[in-house]
Amino acid sequence: MKCKYSEPVDRYFDGELEGSLKKEVSEHLSGCPQCKKQIEILKTVKGSLKSYESLAAGDEFTSKIMEKIENRFTSGWIFNVRPLALKLVPAAAMVLLILGFISFSGLFEERAVSLEEALLGGNYTSDEKIVMEAENLSEYDVFRLTLN
């Protein structure tokens, strides 16, 4: 049967216990062969892992990395800018492009034409406002123009 302290023993071994529970487990260990054996196994596993000599990265490791960084990011200022700015620049460019398209396409322009131009020119759309040049056209003039 598994000891009820089996789980906290692992945390005790890893230094993750504090206060009264730490003290309780510490006292328990002195009288529980099962938990003592568990600690021994944990020590053996940890000791084996740490017993291997570490690998040492060669002398050229750093220079290879710096060379790859240099080759990948040779445009200088673009890649020294913080990532947030890098995301904003293309977004800002897109917004400017859209605004420029809108301003040049005249989508929102209201083109005012004179009544004469509208009736005689035939080059207006239903969106255009026809502006009366009140001083120059009488109702008769309008009537006459529509007959033509």
């Binding site: 789980e7 692992d10 945390r11 890893d14 230094g15 993750e16 568990q38 196994i41 944990l42 053996t44 596993v45 940890k46 084996s48 892992l49 740490k50 017993s51 291997y52 000599e53 570490s54 690998l55 040492a56 990265a57 490791f61 750093t62 290879k64 990395i65 710096m66 790859k68 960084i69 240099e70 990948r72 890649f79 020294n80 913080r82 990532p83 947030l84």
Partner: protein, 175 residues
């Protein structure tokens, strides 16, 4: 201010030489973590290099309150996971002369090999927590930050990994 913090600040301001110094400080740890996760020396070299390049690109997003090493471990872990996902990795063990500790008895070496063999055969998720805890001695909180899982998940994975290793060790002792 510590030397590393100074180098970090300088690197974040675009100083490549400062970043080079950071690589020098951490290259062995990153390489060893990569090797222990991948069990393949060549892949470990590739992953370690790629991890530093990713760190360089993401330097601007590193928050100074966190530990730089933990952040680097996270990048290495993610890069190793991607490497495994994208490649069918064959385990390539190093020459005994490269990694053997000197002055060991034959019995001790055999036990060490059995344990390390067992660790290497654990699934990546379990192997990761064992390596980060028992080899790198990170706290549960730090491991949680590296693998981006709750502390409870770290504890349960560690318990499962150790249960498997315990079975193997008990078989060895009985045998």
């Amino acid at each position: 201010m510590t030397d590393e913090k100074q180098l970090l600040e300088q690197a974040q301001e675009g100083n490549k030489a400062a970043f080079g110094r950071l690589v020098d400080l951490h290259k062995n740890k990153v390489l060893n973590i990569a090797y222990k996760l991948l069990n393949n020396y060549e892949a470990a070299q590739d992953v370690a290099q790629e991890s530093f390049i990713k760190a360089y690109v993401k330097l601007g997003s590193f928050k100074k309150e966190a530990s730089f090493m933990t952040w680097l471990y996270r990048i290495t872990y993610n890069t190793a996971c991607n490497h495994i996902r994208n490649n069918k990795l064959k385990t390539v063990f190093l020459d005994e002369n490269v990694i053997a500790s000197r002055g060991e008895t034959a019995e001790k070496r055999e036990l060490r090999d059995i344990i390390n063999d067992a660790v290497e055969r654990l699934p990546l998720k379990l192997r990761t927590v064992v390596v980060l805890r028992d080899y790198e001695e990170l706290s549960y909180r730090e491991i949680s930050d590296v693998i981006k899982r709750p502390v409870g998940t770290v504890e349960s994975r560690l318990a499962r990994a150790r249960a498997r290793l315990k079975e193997i060790l008990e078989d060895y002792i009985k045998g």
